[in-house]
């Protein structure tokens, strides 16, 4: 029994040591699954330039990032949208821009859709492609799952509520959305442009629709003209100091633009 107590005490001491140790040269980032792979890569390059520093990147979604930063569970949150008015207690630092593109199956010849047509399709008022100039084929609406920031951005842009959308298929991530549309000739969905452009270039049978006469390209997103785009932000609670400040500056610098582009995002101009 005594031995057990001693072992527990020792374990406790080791743990508190490692936590105290954490303060100086360790940084924890949590949040959006869209931003996580990018920040992982930036963190790796930062670690290589600054020996002894450890940056842990964890996934969990934008809402979780806000929560974690407020609770002090993480030093920096990753949020794939602009902050809401209710989140004014936090400060955001823009690291990249991601555009959302409307995707169809490659065999679907509909040249473009107006905002109103897209709204009518997603609310179930238009059920067949021939109503918008396509062939006689049922429309399969692919929507994002609750909590995804792509969904929030999509709803915000078209002034819709999630309860209005009559979805046939609910998906989680970009890749799942692309795979779903590629496998269903009558499907319409929306995903990150970078991901869609890459898959389209590599032969996946999908097609990106232009939005408001603006072609869905990474360049259009970076220029800020493309309407359906979102910010990828790092958020902190108080003004960052020391390592956190240095890392945020690094993530916004020109030293990581190649990493941003490798993840199919646009670096802010």
């Amino acid at each position: 029994m005594k031995v057990l107590v001693r072992v527990l005490l020792l374990l406790g001491a080791v743990m508190s040591l490692s936590i105290a140790h954490a303060a100086d040269n360790r940084l924890t980032l949590t949040g959006s699954s869209t931003v996580a792979p990018l920040m992982s890569e930036i963190a790796k390059r930062y670690e290589a330039d600054h020996p002894g520093v450890r940056i842990d990147v964890q996934m969990g979604g934008s809402s979780r990032a806000i929560n974690d930063v407020r609770m002090g569970m993480s030093d920096i949150g990753m949020v794939s949208r602009a902050l809401k008015p209710a989140e004014s207690d936090l400060t955001a630092y823009l690291v990249a821009i991601d555009g959302i593109g409307i995707i169809l199956h490659k065999d679907n010849k509909v040249p473009s859709l107006s905002d109103q047509q897209i709204i009518n399709i997603f609310t179930g008022e238009i059920k067949n492609w021939h109503e918008v100039g396509g062939k006689d084929q049922r429309i399969t609406v692919v929507n994002k799952a609750e909590g995804r920031s792509t969904l929030e951005l999509f709803l915000h842009h078209f002034a819709l509520k999630n309860s209005q959308i009559k979805a046939h298929i609910i998906i989680g991530d970009n890749q799942q959305g692309i795979k779903t549309v590629a496998g269903n000739a009558g499907a319409i969905g929306y995903v990150s442009i970078g991901a869609a452009v890459y898959e389209e270039a590599h032969g996946t049978p999908i097609r990106l629709l232009p939005m408001a006469d603006e072609p869905a390209t990474v360049k259009a997103v970076a220029s800020g003209h493309y309407p359906l785009s979102r910010e990828l932000n790092l958020v902190v609670k108080a003004a960052p100091i020391g390592l956190a400040k240095d890392f945020i500056t690094y993530a916004q610098s020109a030293a990581v633009i190649d990493l941003v582009e490798a993840q199919f995002f646009a670096a802010p101009l």
Partner: protein, 277 residues
């Protein structure tokens, strides 16, 4: 005629099961095999996993599994022995324990993940760590392991218990030398089920052992498990499909190897003690 039709439909079903398994395996092998090499197995991931390998991820996976098994096996076996050998017949506590275990065995793994995050990571202060992930998996595989072992122990013929008693063996000696070796097939089955479930787990690990793909330096470091890596590659990383298939192939091979090893180990431990069977 009806009899033949019946037999024929049964064998068709069996064929379909085998075919679907072969289909899945064939898909993983044909897509993953060209990408597998020594450098893939022994180098760190680069460019969000599209290039490079999975060495740190394999190491993290092994640590998480080891922690889960070291914690779950002794506790699970003890509970199973208590339920089948010591608990009084019609004991309300034993019955309730059984019901609770059955419910726990059916709980989705994401619930274990959220529990592990709240209890191990936050309440006990382990943070995102291999330790927290391993302990969460231990909780997850415990019910299934206990139930399989228990039913195996109950299936051991009562004559063996009486025989041991009449030879003057103590109860603990009878359990150790007669009953546990007799329930060997069930123990193997429980171990393999638990092992398979733990190795393939994603949801329970996302919020406990985490997403960091660096080589872990201690058990309190966060480490990405193989299944989490596959999930990330196929869902969040555009162009990560080939690496995802290769990792999936490694995962399948890993589970098969571990199952064969587990079978061999349990056999060797218990065979020696049971001469007549």
């Amino acid at each position: 005629m009806a009899d033949r039709l019946f037999a024929w439909s049964m064998s068709t079903c069996a064929f379909l099961v085998v075919l679907s398994l072969l289909w899945v395996l064939g898909d993983v092998v044909t897509e993953g095999l060209p990408h597998i090499s020594w450098t893939f197995l022994f180098s760190a991931p680069e460019n969000a996993g599209r290039a490079g390998g999975i060495a740190p991820i394999l190491v993290s996976t092994f640590w998480i599994l080891l922690i889960a098994l070291v914690v779950a096996l002794p506790i699970g076996l003890s509970v199973a022995v208590w339920l089948s050998e010591f608990a009084p017949v019609n004991s309300r506590f034993a019955n309730n324990t059984g019901i609770v275990l059955d419910i726990l065995a059916g709980v989705p793994s994401i619930v274990y993940g959220l529990f592990g995050n709240a209890f191990f990571s936050i309440y006990l202060g382990m943070g995102f760590s291999l330790l927290s992930g391993g302990l969460t998996l231990a909780c997850m595989i415990l019910p299934i392991f206990v139930r399989t072992c228990e039913s195996g122990l109950r299936a051991v013929n009562n004559d063996w218990r009486r025989g041991a008693l009449s030879l003057g063996m103590t109860k603990s000696a009878a359990i150790w030398h007669i009953i546990l070796p007799g329930a060997r097939p069930a123990l193997v089955a429980g171990l393999i089920l638990g092992l398979g479930r733990a190795t393939a787990e994603t949801a329970a690990l996302l919020y406990t052992s985490g997403y960091v793909d660096r080589m872990p330096g201690s058990l309190l470091d966060s480490g990405r498990a193989l299944s989490v890596h596959i999930y990330d590659l196929s869902m969040n990383v555009t162009g990560g499909d080939t690496a995802a298939y290769a990792s999936a192939l490694v995962l399948v091979i890993l589970i098969m190897t571990l199952s064969i090893l587990a079978q061999g180990m349990v056999d060797r431990w218990f065979k020696r003690r049971l001469v007549v069977s």
